[in-house]
């Protein structure tokens, strides 16, 4: 019997400090067993439980795209017991990964559609996965225009800075990077909150889906703008966070009404969320 609670051992290959405050680090992980890697088939939007023996597990969105083979990346905020311990670990050490878990963004719905990806802060991880996935030559033709609006409080808190810069240069993606504020005279991109920039750039809702991921306050002010732009709630896709333990819909804590965020989510449409109790 396959044990869905058993993490696969992985080696920490590399640890990248992403932000100037040091609170976010990206962990590049490599499976110890090739069969575990083969089994780990995922799509952007899914997450995994990162397991540290003796400390516990944390659910983290997968930052890599399935088009990047041979490793997984997770960008982890230093918050509690497990993540603090992770931040003190070094390349070469062994941890565990359990997954992939949850539902991905609905990629079959996106076929032939334009995509508007809106992200804020460190919630950009599964969005990065999505962008890399869409931009991959095998996939690019399956989707229409790709617009990305990504903001952080200041330039030092933006994730994946090199990739952001590279995407800015490409013609097959409309990239809008923004920060809430900066005193950096060399800052070449937008300044302003994500909702403001969304309004300003006004991506068309025509034949489009929006994926929105970010802190509650950003979501709160972005959703009305998407409505203004003509996105119906069925085409606004969101990803939720919850305290989780099992990640497979059994331990009982992450439900919103009838839905378990870990298994039935974490991806929901705004239309679905509107029908669910407001308890998240």
């Amino acid at each position: 019997m396959e044990n869905p609670y058993l993490p696969s051992p992985v080696r920490i290959e590399e640890i990248i400090t992403e932000t100037t405050d040091g609170a976010l680090k990206t962990f590049k992980l490599v499976f110890l067993k090739p069969e575990d890697e083969k089994r780990f088939r995922y799509l952007p939007g899914q997450f995994a439980e990162i397991s540290v023996a003796g400390k516990g597990e944390v659910p983290i969105g997968i930052a890599t795209s399935p088009t990047e083979e041979g490793f997984l990346k997770f960008t982890i905020n230093k918050v509690g017991l497990v993540t603090t311990h992770l931040h003190n670990m070094h390349p070469g050490e062994i941890i565990g990964v359990r997954g992939p878990l949850g539902k991905s963004y609905p990629w079959d719905w996106f076929e032939g559609k334009n995509l508007v990806i809106i992200g804020g802060g460190f919630a950009f991880t599964t969005l990065r996965s999505s962008i890399v996935y869409v931009l991959h030559p095998d996939n690019r033709d399956r989707f229409g225009d790709l617009t990305v609006i990504y903001g952080a409080r200041h330039p030092g808190l933006l994730l994946y800075k090199e990739e952001l810069a590279a995407w800015e240069q490409r013609s097959d993606i409309n990239m809008h990077i923004t920060v809430d504020a900066t005193d950096d005279p060399d800052w070449k991109y937008n300044v302003g909150f994500v909702p403001t920039i969304t309004k300003e750039k006004a991506p068309s809702s025509e034949n489009a889906y929006a994926i929105v991921c970010g802190p509650p306050i950003m979501i709160k002010f972005t959703l009305p703008i998407l409505t203004e732009l003509g996105f119906p709630p069925e085409r606004v896709i969101m990803s939720l966070e919850m305290r989780m333990k099992c990640g497979i819909g059994m331990c009982g804590r992450c439900n919103i009404g009838t839905e378990y965020v870990c298994k039935d989510g974490p991806v929901f449409t705004l239309a679905q969320l509107n029908q669910m109790p407001n308890e998240y």
Binding site: E2, L6, V79, I94, R243, G249, M250, G252, R253, P277
Partner: protein, 350 residues
């Protein structure tokens, strides 16, 4: 299916024979209460009990269970790698459990055995278990199993059903597995008079359950209307947010996963958890979607009586055993909550 008579003075030898082939769990008297525990001698089982204080769910979902073990010794190759804790899963007989509790196992199965995932510990124990139920001649005043799809002699989820006929038990096999158990009884088949006595007991027991609750109405209620009901504030007032109701409940399955380290070795354990505890849903960020007591109380009742109903189309996640009614320190009575939730007019929060 076959029926046999076990005279009461032969019960011990019957249990003794079971003990030779199975792990046997049975009601055991423990300091002023009964608990469902594994027994090692036939005379430990006491079938004269009314019901156990805690439900028998611990036989499949122990309060604390070792999931994995590991070493964190530095420099060792296997350091940090979890291995499934070695366990033996022998065939086990749950002897004399109440029909409501057997029904509860079926309700919990849908959580642990799903098309995507199977909980290995629950599933292995369930697979190897034979459930020998004991019908309730004397339902308690807090029992309401007939409202929740069961009954004092319900065969749901059982392999064998026992009737206590006074001088003897009538054992009826309900499943193939049950036949196996019945074959351990040396007794003969019941005559017509004992059979009719069993039927009379059953009818009398049903008549003794006075409480009838309109549980079916819950299906039709609007989820958000119930969720936003104003009545939750009244229901939750007395609640002290302990975990008693959830821990005594046969259908509460929530658990927590915890790592422990003892010098260089460690375990990943799972322990019963409760939606009554604030930490149950506390995010690392400090945000808590169910920070208020009223939200947690609502979660417990909504989960049992509405979310479960809507998600699985399987009835309510309550079997009417009455344990939470008896054990709640502040007398929050799920029967009263059911009545409020199924009332015609549902007061909504403005």
């Amino acid at each position: 299916m076959s029926e046999v008579i076990i005279p009461k003075d032969e019960l011990a030898s019957f249990v003794g024979r079971l003990l030779e082939s199975y792990e046997v769990f049975a009601p055991v008297a423990r300091g002023g209460m009964y608990l469902f525990e594994r027994i090692s001698a036939a005379d430990e089982a006491d079938l004269s009990y009314k019901n156990t204080r805690l439900s028998p769910k611990g036989a499949f979902l122990p309060q604390s269970e070792r999931m994995f073990e590991f070493t964190v010794a530095p420099g060792k190759e296997e350091s940090g790698i979890l291995k499934e804790a070695p366990k033996e899963f022998r065939e086990r007989v749950l002897l004399g459990l109440r029909p409501c509790d057997a029904q509860a196992f079926k309700l919990v199965d849908v959580n642990f055995i799903t098309k995507e995932y199977t909980d290995p510990w629950w599933a292995r124990r369930r697979e190897k278990a034979i459930l020998v139920g004991l019908g309730c001649n004397e339902p308690r005043s807090t029992c309401f199993c007939t409202s929740t799809g069961g009954g004092p002699f319900s065969e749901k989820g059982l392999d064998v059903l026992l009737y206590d006929l006074g001088e003897s038990f009538l054992a009826r096999a309900v499943t193939e597995k049950g036949e196996q158990i019945v074959s351990f009884c040396s007794g003969k088949a019941p005559g017509e008079s004992l059979k009719s006595k069993a039927r009379e007991l059953e009818a009398a027991a049903r008549a003794k359950i006075r409480k009838s609750l309109p549980v079916d109405k819950l299906k039709e209620k609007d989820l958000l209307e119930l969720f936003n009901g104003k009545f939750w504030e009244k229901i939750e007032f007395a609640c002290i947010n302990c975990g008693t109701c959830t821990f005594v409940c046969p259908t509460c399955w929530c658990f927590d996963i915890q790592d422990e380290v003892y010098k260089n070795d460690g375990d990943r354990l799972r322990n019963w958890d409760s939606c009554m505890f604030p930490i149950f849903t506390l995010h690392g960020s400090g945000h808590n979607p169910r920070a208020q007591k009223v939200q947690r109380v609502r979660q417990r009742f909504m989960h049992k009586l509405k979310y479960y109903v809507d998600k699985y189309g399987n009835g309510v996640a309550c079997v009417g055993c009455g344990r939470c009614v008896v054990s709640c320190p502040v007398n929050i009575d799920i029967r009263r909550v059911m009545e409020v939730m199924t009332a015609e007019v549902c007061e909504r929060e403005e």
